[in-house]
């Protein structure tokens, strides 16, 4: 409750939250909001590459479909990719970081080295490999992103856990006879939560960018999916004449990623007690 109030008090964060809320609403109500909901798969070959007009807010694309409608539907894909990929990364990264950080020693070192390796594997390459193995598709983009993103959370949680582990309240809980699991799940994890939330919010943005880059390289969703990155790459052929074709999805990506970043920044200020103290 108070967190929400603080969020609304922070201008940047509320803009971010608004952008994301917008994205979610657009994703949910795309069929209602889109002027030409059928245009995801339907084409009007005689209306190709029309500039923006009252009929077509962002013009039409190479198949004569309404770019605006397709952008709206693209939000669904974007949000699906981001949510699942980040969700899976969090799901893998957080426990690994927690266990590695809590127990330390050789197993911890080993886990962290493993995550270093995955961090060093170029994301694009991994995505390519997966896309080529299983065929490019939204699911595989998600898989590729999850496989490469989890180390970020593992690292973060690892570092947080290390420092929390050394803190007195953890020692005190252990001294009271709490089990390792209890300490990890009830004491350490909640204390890393704000860092995870912030990281996740910013990670969403990064994921969207990478997913778009994969789409751009032709490794993402197949046509005629209205994914934003692939729309930009489709549009390349028609530049600079059909400027709207690339500009619209580019702006969409920009706004959404910006939304996540702003929210992440805001949350950092709101959730980080250290910064809170500093701002007093």
């Amino acid at each position: 409750m108070t967190a929400l109030k603080r969020l609304l008090a922070d201008r940047a964060a509320s803009i971010g939250a608004a952008l994301i809320l917008g994205l979610i609403l657009v994703a949910i109500f795309a069929p209602v909001l889109a002027p030409y909901p059928g245009d995801v798969t339907a084409f009007h070959l005689t209306e190709r590459l029309q500039p923006p007009s009252a009929d077509h807010l962002f013009g039409t694309d190479r198949m004569g479909s309404d770019v605006f409608s397709r952008i709206l539907f693209g939000a669904r894909i974007t949000i699906t990719i981001a949510v699942i990929a980040v969700g899976v990364s969090v799901g893998i990264g957080v426990p690994i970081g927690l266990i590695a950080g809590y127990y330390g020693g050789f197993p911890g070192g080993f886990l962290m080295r493993t995550s270093d390796i995955f961090l060093a594997v170029p994301q694009i390459v991994l995505a390519i490999a997966i896309a080529q193995t299983l065929g490019p598709s939204v699911e595989n983009v998600i898989l590729a992103l999850s496989l490469t993103y989890w180390p970020f959370w593992a690292r973060l949680v690892y570092a947080e856990t290390r420092s929390l582990k050394a803190q007195t309240f953890v020692e005190a809980a252990l001294a009271l006879g709490a089990s390792d699991l209890r300490v990890m799940v009830l004491h350490i994890l909640p204390n890393t939560a704000s860092a995870i939330i912030v990281r996740t919010s910013i990670g969403m943005g990064a994921t969207i960018l990478t997913a778009a880059a994969l789409g751009f390289l032709g490794l993402g969703a197949p046509p005629p999916t209205p994914e934003w990155g692939r729309t930009i790459s489709e549009a390349r052929e028609f530049l600079p004449e059909a400027w709207w074709y690339a500009a619209a999805p580019g702006l969409a990506i920009f706004l959404v990623v910006m939304g996540f970043n702003l929210l992440g920044d805001g949350l950092r200020d709101i959730l980080d007690p250290k910064l809170r103290k500093g701002s007093r």
């Binding site: 798969t41 339907a42 084409f43 070959l45 005689t46 190709r48 590459l49 190479r62 198949m63 004569g64 896309a131 080529q132 065929g135 490019p136 598709s137 032709g218 490794l219 197949p222 046509p223 005629p224 489709e234 390349r236 052929e237 028609f238 530049l239 004449e241 059909a242």
Partner: protein
Amino acid sequence: KDRYVHANNSAYDTLDPHTVRDVARVASRLNFYDGLYRWVDNPPQLIPWLATEHSVSEDGLTWTFTLRDDVTFHDGTKMTAEDVVYSFERMLELKRGAGSLFLPMIDPGQTVAVDDTTVAFTLKEPSAIFAALVPDILVVNSTLVKENEVDGDMGQAYMIDHVAGSGSYMLQRYDPARGFIGERFADHFAGWGEKYFDEIEFRTVLETNTRIQGLMRGDYQGLDGYLAPDQVERLRADEDVQIIEEESMRVFHIAMHNGRAPLDDKNFRMAMVHAFDYDGYINEIMQGTVARNPTIMPGNLWGAPDVPGYDYDLAKAKEYLDAYKAEHGDEVRTIKIGTLAGFSETEQAAALMQNGLSQLGITVEIESSPWPVISSAMQNPDTMPDMVPYWKSTYYVDPNNWVGELYASRYAPTRNVSSYHNDAVDEKLEKALVITDQDARAELYSDATTQIYEDAAGIWIYNTKWFGPYASSVKNVRFCPVGNGQDMRWAYLEE
């Protein structure tokens, strides 16, 4: 000094004429090397080149070529029959590129230098298409290559970035990441016209957009053809740019898996061929820059039958589909279309197909992969998607290149990816491979193609037009579908 700079869409990552044989890297082969014969002009003609003539033995197995005696390599060495033999054996040994075309026809060691200017090839069986492949016998300077052999690699390491040829241009500079510069070889045996380019540069520029803008800005004098229609429009509007328009032999079609249900049923296939919006594709997406091609044979090649193309008619398609359903039940599974990542025409074709089929109540899944992946998949009937839109280009100018390779059982499953099998067709195609009389062959091919057409074995869409974008000042580009207009020895600059 007149220079010609060409921007190409893929990399010149090797100069070895024998290891790759793709259209993208044709420039280095054509300009640095010479073959026994050479394809020129459109429709393509074979002209004598390093060889002046040839004869075929009675049994059709031994082909004897007479070579010119005035050919020198770039380093001044004289070319002899030994060089031809070495070059040919090298191709067979390396097994790559054109070598793989010859391997089924000739065994290693079956080529002999009869004397300095005579070379004889002995085939395993008579072949009607050997003549069409002769231009691919590119002759390398065997002395030079042998000098640079390492561990019996037949000079592979050396030839990657060196040229040991007799071609019209000599290698001046080469950077695999960038391209090459060739300098005119004044002593070329074929002599030179009054005007010519002193230097040619072929450069890799991966982005289509960049290539186009570079041409408009004058950074380049020529680009590879096959541009998307919208881009052609853009270039046409520029007065410094000329578009040389030629009919080529590159057939765009959708290969269908004839061996897998439901596509193994003719009614279903008939439904398919009527569900594609040919006119929409050709007139709108391709903006009328291509010609409807009703069969797999390029319409401008001999032996192409004169049949009307299937039309886009969903009602008809529905009828066929109902016929199919009457026999096989109402359930139709999802159809998978594989497309070539980065080739938007295949994607658009697939999307259009999807659009048509969805109106028939058939769901379509599109999967887009890079060419090597999809090509590997296509060569195995188990992994071949139900449909794949792609082009069949000119590897050699003979009907076998199209109808033979794509529908004869002898080429299954590697080149005949449709798993199409028809004994009557096979018989005709086999026969046409052996006899040499062109008229008889033309008839055989025409009949076979018609049969395949009637079987609706594939969806044949268009034959490509080639739009060679050049600076207006470039003259006398002799376009040939085989070399894509990149044979630069005839072109010159005129302000």
